[in-house]
Symmetry: C2
Subunit: 228 residues, 2 copies
């Protein structure tokens, strides 16, 4: 029979998240010193993160110096897709991790000359759960949601939506074909992400991209929770 | 215009997984030195990992000295459920991580007197993707699959099933009610996990638990890929 006490808790999370927060703050200081605007992009797999970036790089390359850090579990397919658009692209392969961490971004930054950039995108691993807890040091976090994913998706993944600065509804060119209920979707967004700017666009046709570019070239949102 | 080269890859995964493999090997040596059998349990959320353990602890407590390490993103609800069954339970809360890592298990082991145990269960975070890449040092990995999850689940998550030593189909008491196609399920299992022992049981009614106990008290499988 057992003489050991019956129950203990080991709080790995707090230590890990504390360390991540320190490195994220250090990343954020580096971005601020370089006058660099850093926007992270999060979504489910297949919501169109890379397609949005492809179009954005092509359209803005003559006006804005853009860099991209892209995270995937495995393969550098996303970096390959983004290559040749005139922007430096650093691929992070995370192995078993379903999210980026601030330390991974810090390592990727070693490959970039921040003084040569105006805007840095960080494309997270395709996942609506894991990335939510990890601050990367970005100024703004953008969550993508395609019209095929269901109008109630924001309610099912409240954490990631609650912390979004902007939500982009993608693949609007097929909204009618999939029978999107726009009212229901926007009601979900008002409930789950009332703080977020909302955009609807199609990276394929280009419809709606102008508002997104206006957002990127505007003054940027001030997120007090993220300030250093 | 940008003078930086266009593309780099940062392999975080290899370094992380290499370090994890070292710690897992160290855990495995400790288990071997203590003559302790260590079985990890993985599944989607809600497949019945904790229910299986509750029943197993109750039924085997007079014959076998069992300990449990249980991982969750947050809350110690699972440890609370397992408490009072006569076994020491260590809860790991992982914060943002959707899987356990060998280092977390090593920290939890500090709370256990391995010499006082015959059998240690490690209940992983509920997830069929993230845990697949992380060896914990366990001798055997058991994947649970409830009858409500769809007969093709093993084909959709091939990595976790390919590395399973045993697969347990849970909630068999409602198999008929949900219209389980047993032939289709077993065909999926033969394809995705031909190496694994398969069990069907209901922790609620107790049907099928005997074969599971026979497995736990048998000689144990020898997994060459995992030997130190």
């Amino acid at each position: 029979m057992n003489r050991m006490p019956e129950r203990w808790t080991v709080e790995i999370g707090e230590a890990v998240l504390g360390r991540n927060a320190e490195i994220a703050a250090s990343n954020r200081r580096r971005f601020a010193e370089s006058g660099l605007r850093v926007v992270s992009i999060v979504s489910s797999p297949g919501s169109g993160k890379t397609a949005l970036l492809e179009r954005t790089l092509s359209d803005l390359r003559d006006r804005t110096r853009i860099g991209v850090i892209v995270g995937d579990l495995e393969t550098d397919n996303d970096a390959r897709r983004l290559r040749g658009k005139g922007a430096p692209v650093v691929q992070i392969t995370t192995g078993g991790y379903c999210h980026l961490e601030a330390s991974m971004v810090a390592r990727a930054l070693e490959k970039l000359d921040l003084a040569d950039l105006d805007l840095l995108f960080i494309e997270n691993v395709g996942n609506l759960v894991c990335p939510a807890a990890f601050d990367l040091g970005e100024a703004e976090r953008v969550v993508l949601l395609s019209v095929t994913e269901g109008e109630d998706k924001p309610l099912k993944y409240p954490t990631i939506f609650r912390n979004a600065d902007a939500v982009i509804v993608t693949k609007m060119d097929i909204a009618e074909a999939v029978g999107l209920d726009r009212e229901a979707l926007h009601a979900s967004l008002r409930q789950a992400a009332p703080q977020a700017r909302a955009f609807e666009l199609s990276a394929r046709t280009g419809d709606g991209m102008g508002a997104w570019y206006g957002y990127l070239q505007g003054p940027g949102s001030v997120n007090l929770a993220k300030s250093v």
